[in-house]
């Protein structure tokens, strides 16, 4: 659905455009049909620029891409026809009603039955009762829902969501998230940039951590395993120093730490190693109370990859 090869984007900045700003550097990735892909990175990492490139709004300086089967730079109008975009700011026509806003975009996207599509999305987003109110009177959450409806009005093959829950209160965020999950269950291809790592973990099949360059790309669980391995905690009634060496000597176990009466062990395959370790500990006289797994969050992976600094807007 989306295939990029060595995409780069350089902006000329400064009063005389004498400086170069490399917003995207050598981006190669593939997003499959029906996949929800999370594009994560700090502010100014080039995420919005990437979305703009892939939706045919701006041209890459280098590289090639195919979006919805169309060549970027050659078939941009067709790309725009086949993708929907939720921009970072909803950008609605505030003096106009929700119905009018959607009608305008349905016409611009050449939707065959405009009124039917408008009615469908107004109802789906729970905006039917307020459809004749000007958007200026809408709450932030309602505007975001309307912007989502606008992005979907022409039933695009691919949906680009740029920070879909940014600035929304928890309730509105949940509504938007639930809707994205619904779209996911319909098998839509979604390319989503977000700061909300919990959201990415919950919604995305794969995530790419990006900071001008693609730093890593995989499913959240694989990333976790790659970066931290799987950490298992053995809660013991008492602790003997000899048990550390005992566990460290078992095949597949590594990085054994003692925290109070707990042994924390990195295991490549806990399903195989756990019974062996428990048997060894019990044989050595330990009383194993219970065993747990430490789950590293996507946030830990993200912070490990990009650090926690805010880099400002590109």
């Amino acid at each position: 659905m989306i295939k990029t090869k060595n995409i780069s984007k350089v902006f000329l900045i400064g009063k005389k455009q004498e400086k170069e700003l490399r917003a995207v550097d050598d981006l190669t990735l593939e997003v499959m049909k029906g996949e929800v892909f999370g594009f994560l990175g700090p502010n100014g990492a080039g995420k919005t620029t990437t979305v703009r490139i892939l939706t045919g709004l701006i041209r890459p300086t280098e590289g090639t891409a195919q979006v919805a089967g169309y060549e970027l730079g050659r078939d941009d109008t067709n790309i725009r026809r086949n993708v929907g975009i939720l921009t970072e700011a909803p950008g609605m026509y505030e003096r106009l009603t929700a119905e009018k806003n959607l009608t305008i975009f349905a016409n611009l996207y050449d939707v065959p039955d405009v009124q039917k599509a408008v009615n469908k999305y107004l109802s789906m987003m729970g905006l039917w009762e307020r459809r004749l109110d000007s958007v200026g009177s809408y709450s932030k959450g309602m505007r975001q829902k309307l912007a989502l409806a606008r992005a979907l009005i022409h039933e695009p093959q691919i949906l680009f969501l740029d920070e879909p829950t940014s600035g929304l209160d928890p309730e509105a965020s949940k509504t938007v998230r639930d809707f994205i999950e619904e779209l996911k269950s319909e098998g839509r291809t979604i390319f989503m940039t977000t700061h909300n790592l919990d959201e990415a973990e919950r919604l995305c099949d794969r995530v790419g951590i990006f900071q001008q360059k693609l730093l890593t790309l995989d499913s959240p669980s694989n990333l976790r395993d790659q970066m931290f391995g799987r950490r298992v905690v053995f809660h013991l009634q008492t602790m003997e120093p000899a048990w550390v060496d005992l566990v460290a000597g078992i095949a597949g176990a590594g990085n054994v730490e003692v925290v109070d009466n707990k042994l924390v062990v990195s295991l490549k395959n806990p399903e195989e190693s756990n019974p062996v370790i428990i048997r060894a500990l019990v044989t050595a006289g330990a009383q194993v109370q219970f065993v747990g797994v430490i789950r590293h969050s996507l946030e830990q992976i993200y912070l490990e990859m990009v650090g926690s600094g805010d880099r400002g807007q590109a």
């Binding site: 703009r52 109008t77 950008g91 305008i104 016409n107 992005a151």
Partner: protein
């Protein structure tokens, strides 16, 4: 064409919901109609009707226009020569109000990106934005001129003065040159609107398109220029060529990427 109609519909829906814009668009033409009518009304009752045109003391170049007319008629025609230019100023000023806001307004409300993300082409977008500004400007100018003609008839002006108002010079000027000027003003305003980051700056800069016409008005006022049919025909040809060139250039220089990324 559907995309162009959609943009026009969108622009008008937004513009005509703003009472201030409507006020600006209607008050100015009302003023431009009232001013010459008041002037004609006052001069009709006060000017001598039995003296020859030469005795009116008007600039030498103008007396040819007044051949065979009385001093009163000639004075009214001389004054009309200046006021009629106001009907050509209207199609310059009214579209500017709409066009100057058209792009920068979308930038500031962040609605430009979703708009540019649709399959609309640059030509369609510019045509929609341009026509949404030009059409009201031209229609209001035509309506204002129509009201002025009716007002002139009701004032009981002499046939010579009415004939002058409805002469080919002014019919060409108002019905043909006016719309062409309107197109030029709109292109300039849209271009400025796409380059600046503040709607107020766009409006102020776009307002400068009236300067050339103001210069013509001053030249007429100073007696340095008499608007005749040759002047009008030459002006139409030059302005039409200019408008055509600007239309072509506009679609080339309107760069979506620059407009989207270089405005903060």
């Amino acid at each position: 064409m559907k995309h162009v109609r959609t943009i026009i519909d969108k622009e008008w829906s937004e513009v005509f919901k703003n009472r201030w814009v409507i006020s600006t668009m209607t008050l100015l033409p009302m003023l431009f109609v009232a001013m010459p009518l008041v002037m004609l009304y006052m001069t009709t009752s006060s000017l001598p009707v039995d003296l020859p045109a030469e005795s009116a003391g008007l600039p030498a170049g103008f007396t040819e226009v007044c051949a065979g007319l009385t001093a009163g008629e000639c004075t009214q025609i001389y004054l009309l020569n200046q006021f009629m230019l106001l009907f050509m100023l209207m199609p310059l000023m009214i579209p500017t109000t709409i066009a100057a806001y058209s792009i920068v307004g979308e930038k500031t409300t962040r609605s430009l990106e979703p708009l540019l993300a649709t399959p609309i082409t640059t030509v369609e977008l510019l045509a929609g934005k341009g026509l949404a500004a030009v059409i009201p400007g031209v229609l209001i100018s035509y309506a204002a001129f129509g009201i002025f003609v009716i007002g002139s008839l009701l004032l009981g002006l002499s046939t010579a003065v009415i004939n002058y108002i409805l002469s080919p010079i002014w019919l060409l000027g108002i019905l043909v040159l006016g719309p062409i000027l309107s197109v030029i003003a709109t292109i300039v305003a849209i271009y400025i609107s796409s380059r600046v980051s503040d709607p107020r700056v766009a409006e102020q800069l776009s307002g400068m398109v009236i300067i050339p016409l103001m210069l013509v008005m001053f030249a007429v006022l100073a007696g340095k220029l008499v608007i005749n049919i040759n002047f009008m025909l030459i002006a139409i040809v030059i302005c039409a060529l200019l408008a055509f060139g600007m239309l072509r250039l506009g679609t080339v220089i309107f760069d979506r990427e620059n407009i989207l990324t270089k405005w903060k």
